[in-house]
Amino acid sequence: MKIKKLILRLSVMIILFISAGFCSSSIDLRAEEESVTLVSMIVKMDHGDYWKTIKMGAEVAAKEYNVKLDFMAPANENDYKGQIALMEQSIHNGTDAIILSASDYMALAQVTDQASYYGIPVLSMDAEVASAKVKSYIGANNYEAGQKAAERLVELTGTEGEIGIINFVKGARNADQREEGFMDYIARFPDLKIADIEYCGSDERLADTLTRTMIHEFPNIKGIVALNAEASIGAGKAIDELGYGGKTKLITFDNPPEMMEKLQEGTVQAMVVQNPYSNGYLAVSSAVQLAEGNSIPERFDTGTKLIDLDNMLWPDNQKLLFPFIK
């Protein structure tokens, strides 16, 4: 009897000790556990340096904040329906936050509201969308960027003559705002005429063709502004090949490497450079904040810079133009 009792007591003690051990080890387990945030990033197009840079920035932030990033885009920048489908898919997948760079200001409004209805916060990046549910905008001030481009073009061309615009997608908020900013500035000079506005749909070849046509139609055109990277590449190529380099002043947007070369060769006089890397990074880090329920500022202006031959090699601008080491 006594031995039995003793064994019983001993086993109770051993169980107590073991459970004490488990108590302490379970704390460590809890510390290891960290939640993964699902963030969908829906941009306008699945190719192009500009978007690649955004993706890189986003990926760095995703790694930093333990985010599972779902980077999605239609093949074509005109394809707002594709974007809507991607939005719906993200809502269906129950993502924690959506970052949207809307191809169309109006068309994506409804699906944005829908996401908000399902409790998924939506951030707009680069281009806004016509929804009051959007928590924040991360990107450049496009109206100001348009004005900057216009200001430099006027300096180059003088206050009279004809100028042309190669825009990308009509209806995209950033395209419209850049155009508006540009036009508003040009409007100060009554002798400066806008000869033509073309939309290339972020297609380099189409931009090339459109530029050639424009120069054919208006041989005396004094200056052309291209309002995004693809339009710039196309316009630069056309002007170069037609031998109009330096004769028709060209202001471009964004900084694909080939455009840097064109700047040095003198085809491009200046470029308005945004901060796509920052856009991507800030968008993801802000999305994490939103998903965790924190509030964030309504706007992040990541700024634009006008780069020309004189300032392109300033150390600060080198870092902006070439954020990648390799």
């Binding site: 704390i27 040095q264 920052s278 990074y281 870092k319």
Partner: protein
Amino acid sequence: MRFWRTLFQPLGRFHYKKIQVMITLSFMFITIITVLLVSVMLYNKFSKSSEENTFLNMGQIIDQVNLNLEFYVSGMKDIFEVVEESIGNSSQLTGNQLESRLNTILNTREDLVSIALFTKSGELVLNTPSIGMRPNSRLPRQGWFEAAQEHPGLLQFSAPHIQNVFKSPYRWVVSMSKEISYLDHRIKKKGILAVDINFRTIDELSKRVSLGKKGYVYIIDGLGNIVYHPQQQLIYAGLKYENLEPVLNYSFGSYMDDSTGEERIITIKTVQPTGWKVVGVTYADEIMTTKKDINAFMLWFLLVMLGIVLIVSVFVSYRIAKPLRNLERSVKKVEDGDFATIIDVSGAYEVEQLSKRFNLMIRRIRELMDQIILEQEAKRKGELEVLQAQINPHFLYNTLNSVTRMAEMGRKEEVVTTITSLSKFFRISLSKGNNIISVQDELEHVRNYLIIQKIRFKNKFQYEIEAQDEALNCMTLKLILQPLVENAIHHGIEMMVDEGFIGIYSWIEDECLFIRVTDNGVGMSEEVLRGVLTGRSRQESGSGVGVRNVHERISLYYGTPYGLTFESELEEGTTVTVRLPIISKPEIHGNGGQP
């Protein structure tokens, strides 16, 4: 169930002097003190050594990176010297020989981007790989070119910059540049030799270095340009920030920095030939995390230990205290008068022994109490009987009857003797109420009795009283001989035909006082003899003060070894011997003599 109820019982009836409470509290106290002491000591030791380790590790890691970089840089310097030598020694700059040689050098290292020689005005003399120059590169105003011109003959390491000379992709490079002499068509000229290296190797060297979970290493040049940083792109994009100002003021050492809002330990080392600085960043809260971990562990350890100790001590103290409580309860019952209580307590050996002894004691007390009750009863009865004997009305009546008869017959002398003896007899009988009288008085008492009886029985018997002098001075219970003599007369001599004889003797022998009453009467059968002391054959006649009563009184007063012994033989006579302790006169106080 019962165990758990008793486990928490102390909460209900808390008394700090209870054994259970005392044991529990002292257990807890000792454990808390011990665990706290050990915890504090371990904590101090751990945190101190972890801090020391961190600093040591950091220093070692930075040293290692520094060493690797110095090795790397000196390797690059060697390559530059080889290039410089080959260009300086060759007489023909455009020849295939030099070009292939430079190509070989370029191909040995992956991180060599280009080798180029420029005139002092910035025109290209030769380059490997031979790629055309980019327009508008403003070469003479690039930093590396200017530096080489400013410090002729000294090798210059440039800040990281975009290579913007040739029509190759834009790349971040570090340029090694130096003004050198070369022969162009046998004419000695001065030019700028530039060897561009990319960051790959530096990246590889630094990327794998980690200082804790969050810590990292970065490299800056002498002017504060970042050569390598794990978050270089973020810093270039202006999304992250590194507080470089204080770093530039140190060439080696450590300091605390809280410019980013977090406390960080910055360790700096300078790479010698280039003036680059290897900077290690460790987050102070990681050291604190170790401390916090230890803290949390200690806290849990303490809590768990306390819990276990509480349970164990309550349990142990319960085990110890429970039998004692039972014991206490039993003793209380005894205290209340319940002597039938038997303690059945199991537990510690001591407690078991205690309860066993207690049981024995209770039994003994019970026995003694029973005995006392019996004895008291007997004593009372005896005393009552003595009281009766003192008056002895039967004897008085008989004697007075005899006196009357004698007076009628005119036997004056006999009447006087009888009355005198009767008076003496009663005086000694009463003896001022004392129970204890001297042997002399007792003998005198019985002598007077015998005188009266002899007259009454008309000299039917003779008597003799003899005593040692020592015996006479001893004390004895009174009225013990008279019943024996009465017995001898009535049962021994009265029925005899011949003349009887009664002898009374007193002496001291073997530390005892003996008084013997002997007669030569009819004697007793063995059966009767046995019955005398047990009281079964009680005399139907006589004064009523029985022989048995005498025996009982003696044993009650003096203890069991004392009393009467009978020897008797039919037709021969009976001898009764009284055995008494020797108690001399002065020891007697009142009637409460102790055996």
